[in-house]
Symmetry: C2
Subunit: 145 residues, 2 copies
DNA sequence: TATTGTTATACTCTATAACTATA
DNA sequence: TATAGTTATAGAGTATAACAATA
């Protein structure tokens, strides 16, 4: 009996999974390089990427998959570098929204450009193929809500 | 003129990229949950996943995208938990191979099972669709060498 | 009572630089 | 000289627990 897990067993699903894992890993390494180039720690870069819109500290922790208490120091350091600022929520005085500054928006754009390099590689597909891929991926990973 | 980067602009490629980024993020969060459930720090879990085969300290650092010097402490702590061991290379006495112990192999399997959950979601596709997806992904991300 | 955010603590991660042993 | 690995150091990430302010 094989000691290999579901994730590494052969077969069609296994092959698809293998290539997806490779994409995940390449994306992770590209992300780490991009963060290092911009002199950001991975968690800081992750936070910037999440901040397309202002987020509460709480929400940001959820998006980053880390504890609430970490975000305090994380945002402190980003704020010290002038990349984000805190502002109070008008609805709930307990809540603080984290907002990108202009410099933060620029840094975020630089991150996106570097991390988004593989978008170009989608050019290897014809338009029809791109449409097919989109539909297949949507079936595999439908939006949650 | 739009302030959006290549990575977030609309269009077909943009849509494919958006869904890929969602997959990347979900994978990351699943990975973090899996590591936490097994009481491993993300870097430790990442190292275990890389250790399908024995790797030199140097190679392991490359795979993890971190500096060589970090791997010393990382492997120290994994070894202290009985998950890996060091052994000398017969070819080059400078090199140390990192090898999983039996306990390390079991923990790695548990990680793979948790991280590999989406393999099941590939069942939403027919076999033909899985084959199509595989071919399209191979075109986008061909193997390096 | 429950939730948001902060602080304190302890441990881990990470890069840099300097070092040893080997090639 | 160059490379593999270690050590020392400093700054950052991380979870846990306890706390203040607000809901």
């Amino acid at each position: 009996m094989s000691m290999e897990s579901t994730a590494t067993r052969g077969g069609l699903r296994g092959e698809v999974w293998a290539i997806l894992r490779r994409l995940f890993r390449e994306h992770r390494l590209r992300f780490l390089s991009a963060a290092a180039e911009l002199d950001l720690h991975p968690a800081q870069a992750g936070a910037l990427l999440q901040l397309a819109e202002p987020l509460s500290m709480n929400h940001l922790a959820g998006e980053l998959g880390c504890d609430n208490s970490n975000v305090t120091g994380l945002v402190d350091r980003l704020a010290a570098r002038g990349l984000v600022s805190r502002r109070e929520s008008p609805d709930d005085r307990r809540v603080r929204q984290v907002v990108l500054t202009d410099a933060g928006r620029r840094t975020r754009e630089q991150l996106l450009q570097r991390v988004g390099a593989p978008v170009g590689e989608l050019g290897r597909l014809t338009e029809d193929e791109q449409r097919q891929l989109l539909e297949l991926l949507r079936k595999v990973a439908p939006e949650e809500r």
